[in-house]
């Protein structure tokens, strides 16, 4: 799978705002299997870029293509197919089912198109230090724990691209390292691409390309 950005820019940005950007207004191609790191300060459109790539927002100029198909032509059904099989995501704001348990949050994603068996959930939770939270309600978890839940959730499906929007903002260095290792391990199994947005360069990511927004 390939994702191409063809001169895209948020429609609410002025051209002079992004003249130095390596993404906005440029043609950029992301290929399966490569690790990309998008670095940018606050307000430069990192979350907007992730949402544009995932098809959640359309307030941009230019085109985004999934395998030469313009995603502006996709309906909800078509997006659901891509999200189920090819693209996974960790949102900056986590987007968990707060009234449900951690396990329910993870199972609902795993069951959609099982890539791992249910034991893998416990295994991953143990790896990231939240095994004892599995039966707890999500709204009783700290932001750091919620971020780890969101990361595990994104790894329970098949994918060619994994979009990570400031996924470690609430994690300390040790936990970031563990989470990054798990992400890289899972991406490697699938030969998938990682597109990671963050405020600063994450040393733990072995990125082939670093793009500055």
């Amino acid at each position: 799978m390939q994702i191409s950005l063809q001169q895209i820019a948020p429609s609410f940005f002025n051209k002079e705002n992004y003249s130095g950007s390596e993404v906005w207004g440029k043609t950029v191609v992301f290929n399966k299997g490569e690790n990309l790191h998008v670095v940018a300060p606050s307000g430069s459109g990192k979350t907007s870029l992730t949402h544009f790539l995932y098809g959640l927002r359309t307030d941009y100029t230019g085109d985004i293509l999934y395998n030469n198909e313009n995603i502006k032509t996709f309906d909800k059904e078509k997006f659901s197919l891509w999200r189920k099989q090819h693209i996974s995501i960790v949102f900056q704001d986590m987007r968990l089912f707060t009234e449900q348990t951690v396990l329910q949050n993870l199972e609902i994603k795993r069951q959609l198109l099982p890539y791992h068996d249910e034991n893998k959930i416990t295994c991953m939770a143990r790896q990231l230090g939240i095994e004892n939270k599995l039966t707890k309600c999500c709204n009783t978890c700290s932001y750091g724990e919620q971020q780890r839940i969101a990361i595990i959730r994104s790894l329970l499906q098949p994918f060619d691209f994994l979009l990570l929007d400031e996924p470690f903002s609430h994690l300390d260095d040790v936990n970031t390292k563990k989470a990054m290792a798990l992400i890289e391990e899972e991406a490697a199994i699938r030969n998938a691409a990682i597109i990671l947005n963050d405020l600063r360069k994450i040393d733990h990511l072995k990125a082939e390309r670093i793009l500055y927004l």
């Binding site: 059904e77 659901s80 609902i108 994603k109 959609l112």
Partner: protein
């Protein structure tokens, strides 16, 4: 394991608003019961009153004569051509025709099958005023056999009063046609002309012994001479025999109306109207219940909006979600419709067994149309429900 409603159930606030959910279930069941029972009763009424309604194509046919009182007994009670024309002119009268009567003496003898002799009268009327006109109700000069239509009341009277008293055989409506009667017609001079007569039909509408007009005109001319006599009975075709305007006109003219035959039809019409009204009420209740249920669904989806939105964001297909959420209610609808269907079947059995004392002409089981309506209601409920859920989910 394939995904099912069970997987997404914890993410939907289905447990909320139990009262409105149960109210809509009850409303739907009551509405369906009313509708199914009304349809079954409509079928029952049609079956029970089937052969007794002389009303045809939306018209009543009534017989009009001049009222005979002590004061006018000596007067002529026949209708003049002008009076018939005046009757025809009335807005409430769609058609009017005289009943021609015989002007000669007629005697009927039963031959060896029914050994009796009686004086008889014959009448004729335009065929379109007769409720049942068999194909062989025709006569032309030279024809030996005269077809006759008699009132079904006469056959009943013969079977129940006359035949047992005289030790004569009784006849069914079908077997009466095989009886050959001899008609002896006398001229004023006393000579006789004999015809064979055969009962070809029974009339629920006209209380008379009817022969083809061609025969009576010929016989009157041949046997009684050319002198014209006016008819003393007129038949009126009207949309409503109880129309006050018509009744007031007839009363003002001092005409006597024989409406007994139309009363039964009127009762049936009123019963059918009541049952139709009940069906309408049932449909209204069903619509209200479905509206209430749709509010409940909208509320449920509104309350689960964030979760449903997140499910779609995570890759759940809106189409699959619509189908799965809607399918959850299919067994509920099936039960809600099946219970009234069973109750209708029980009511029909009770009605047939106890209220109608097990009458053979009324079936013990519900009519197929009732079951068909139940199936259609189920399909309708499920479809409406699915479309509503789909619309609500696609709006998210």
């Amino acid at each position: 394991m394939a995904l099912s409603y069970k997987n997404i159930a914890p993410f939907l606030s289905a447990g909320q608003n139990r009262l409105s959910r149960w109210l809509s279930y009850t409303g739907l069941a009551v509405g369906v019961l009313l509708l199914l029972c009304s349809i079954q009763m409509y079928v029952n009424i049609n079956k029970l009153l089937k052969d007794k309604n002389p009303r045809k194509d939306g018209y009543d046919y009534i017989s009009v004569t001049k009222l005979i009182t002590n004061d006018n007994m000596a007067e002529d009670h026949s209708f003049t051509d002008a009076e018939i024309a005046e009757l025809k002119k009335q807005k409430t009268v769609d058609d009017a025709t005289p009943l021609l009567a015989n002007k000669f003496l007629v005697k009927a003898t039963g031959g060896s099958t029914i050994p009796f002799t009686t004086d008889l009268f014959l009448e004729s009327i335009e065929n379109n005023f007769i409720d049942t006109v068999p194909a062989d109700f025709k006569w032309q000069e030279g024809q030996d056999i005269v077809p006759v239509i008699i009132s079904s009341d006469y056959l009943e009277l013969y079977n129940t009063v006359f035949a047992p008293g005289k030790d004569l055989p009784q006849f069914s409506a079908k077997s009466i046609s095989s009886v050959r009667i001899q008609l002896e017609c006398y001229t004023a001079a006393g000579t006789t002309k004999t015809f064979k007569a055969s009962v070809v039909g029974l009339s629920d509408r006209i209380n008379s012994v009817l022969v083809p007009t061609a025969f009576l005109q010929w016989a009157n001319g041949q046997l009684a001479g050319p002198a014209k006599t006016n008819p003393s009975r007129i038949f009126i075709k009207t949309k409503d025999a109880n129309n006050p305007e018509l009744l007031s006109f007839l009363e003002q003219k001092n005409y006597h109306v024989n409406k007994d035959k139309t009363k039964f039809g009127r009762v049936k019409q009123i019963l059918q109207a009541i049952v139709s009204g009940l069906s309408g009420f049932g449909i209204l209740v069903i619509i209200l219940a479905m509206l209430l249920f749709s509010f409940y669904l909208q509320l449920m989806i509104e309350r689960s909006k964030d979760n449903l939105q997140l499910l779609i964001t995570l890759g759940y297909s809106p189409g699959w979600l619509s189908k799965t959420v809607a399918a959850k209610w299919t067994p509920v609808y099936a039960i809600i419709i099946l219970i009234p269907l069973l109750l209708t079947a029980i009511f029909q059995w009770i009605f047939q067994q106890f209220a109608m004392n097990g009458r053979d002409d009324l079936p013990v089981y519900i009519h197929w149309s009732v079951a068909l309506i139940a199936v259609l209601l189920l399909v309708l409920s499920v479809t409406v429900n699915y479309r509503l859920v789909k619309k609500l989910l696609h709006k998210l």
